[in-house]
Point group: C2
Chain length 256, copies 2
């Protein structure tokens, strides 16, 4: 039975997509069959794994709002064991369209129920908000994985994210856990980053991964080639740190 | 009559808040009476200028969804001639609440109409999405100001932002112009940044400001002190670049 992770943080630009794509690829090379779902209208995760622009009616939008099954929209990627459900621009209107629907928060959970037999892990890349798309992801997920930039504004938003997760756990998804908090774009020469890292480890000692992701320009170059970092530059610090993260994550999961 | 600017880009973490706060402060010290409106549920712009957490019922939410006037929620800041309308957590639910309202896209435009007599400029800090809050900002604005990080994902989203602006111009706000595109967190030692900057100047030659904002850690430290960069470290490269931006912006406006 697949473990479903929502990669989420309402703060923008903290490394959600970079983490979903590269942790996904790293799990795949560890022989874990992995499905990446791009739930962001921006479609960055789709780009990041080189997904082709979905033909009309073949994206996560058509699963969430229409009646298509996940299996009808899945694409293969260049990484064996990594598949992707692409986003589309229509998704930008989905939050408004979902408002009036019955059980609007559970549409994604319903779609995933019988579709994920063949996977070990499902990673959902969320948009930078706590709207109905992210609520759908948190309702469908077994746990949330929170990328966090070591910056003041990003720290400020963390409490609100955990409060929202508490609300979802009470009202919609009692099993929603926390897979962990991963510090991203870390530059330890910078005082602010050190202070924020200390602060987060103090407040959430049980959640923060030992592995941190350094700021590494190769990570920001890879998307322009439509490749995860493992295929773009496997020897880069970015690639090695996501492989380390995958190993630590699997250790927490009790598998290897 | 005030000029209203929507500081917007649906890509997360590109420097919208940092630009709204620091361009706002720089305009204020150029003797322009400036109002900053925090339209993001994250409330980062409110933090960035040291706004006190609004008492119950005293934020932009109560203007947009309730019936309060802008003048009833405005706060002064430490910078003379810079005032702020703070955000609140309630705003996270505003997009859903707006869906069923009459003329839902024009709520902010209506609220601003008779409230901005006393200002030269109004800057609206938008959330990282193209939902109803940003649509309200673009409908109320005379022009949009677009912060852009020199990264691949950020470049990818630019076309969609301009298409959305075209739709707003046709359906809701015929006078919506473009104040400009400002390149942020620029590190010209980095090849990708140079390529993206070239690409943007090629596609939007008339919009990109000459002034670019360098990556400068002092800019990310200032918010933890609740101060714009001018009050935190006026000699920093960050502060000087936003003063330059204000001068160039006012030059384009035909005033000084
Ligand atoms: N460790 C890193 N080192 C260098 N650049 C990075 C790193 N992680 C991410 N980036 C770059 O920083 C930018 C923001 O990252 P990303 O888009 O993954 O964040 P996000 O949280 O998904 O953003 P959004 O909120 O818009 O969805 C991107 O341009 C990305 O390429
Ligand atoms: N020129 C800069 N140099 C260094 N750090 C910067 C610069 N501009 C912004 N930052 C920092 O980068 C992060 C992202 O910037 P900011 O929050 O202003 O972006 P945003 O577009 O408003 O994000 P969101 O999409 O979440 O609203 C913040 O932590 C900010 O302090
Ligand atoms: Mg993303
Ligand atoms: Mg912001």
């Amino acid at each position: 039975m697949a473990r479903v992770l929502a990669v989420t943080n309402q703060k923008g630009g903290v490394g959600k997509t970079t983490t979903a794509v590269n942790l996904g690829a790293s799990l795949a090379v560890n022989q874990k069959r992995t499905l990446l779902i791009d739930l962001d209208p921006q479609g960055n995760a789709s780009t990041g794994v080189g997904a082709t622009a979905p033909a009309e009616g073949r994206s996560i939008y058509d699963v969430l709002i229409g009646d298509l099954k996940i299996t009808e929209v899945v694409q293969k990627t260049e990484v064996a064991s990594l598949e992707v459900v692409p986003s589309s621009a229509d998704l930008a209107g989905a939050e408004v369209e979902l408002v009036g629907m019955l059980a609007r928060e559970k549409r994604l959970a319903g779609a995933l129920r019988d579709a994920v037999e063949g996977y070990d892990y499902v990673l959902i890349d969320c948009p930078p908000s706590l709207g109905l798309l992210t609520v759908n992801a948190l309702t469908a997920a077994d746990a949330m994985l929170v990328p966090l930039q070591c910056e003041y504004y990003a720290l400020e938003g963390l409490a609100r994210l955990f409060r929202t997760a508490d609300l979802i756990r009470e009202a919609l998804n009692p099993q929603l856990g926390v897979a962990g908090i991963v510090l991203t774009m870390v530059d330890m020469r910078n005082n602010l980053a050190q202070q924020v890292a200390l602060e987060v480890r103090k407040h959430f000692p049980q959640y923060v991964f030992e592995t941190t992701i350094p700021r590494n320009v190769r990570l920001s170059e890879a998307p322009s080639h439509g490749k995860p970092i493992l295929l773009y530059d496997v020897h880069s610090r970015g690639a090695l740190s996501y492989l380390d993260l995958a190993r630590e994550f699997l250790g927490r999961e009790g598998t290897s």
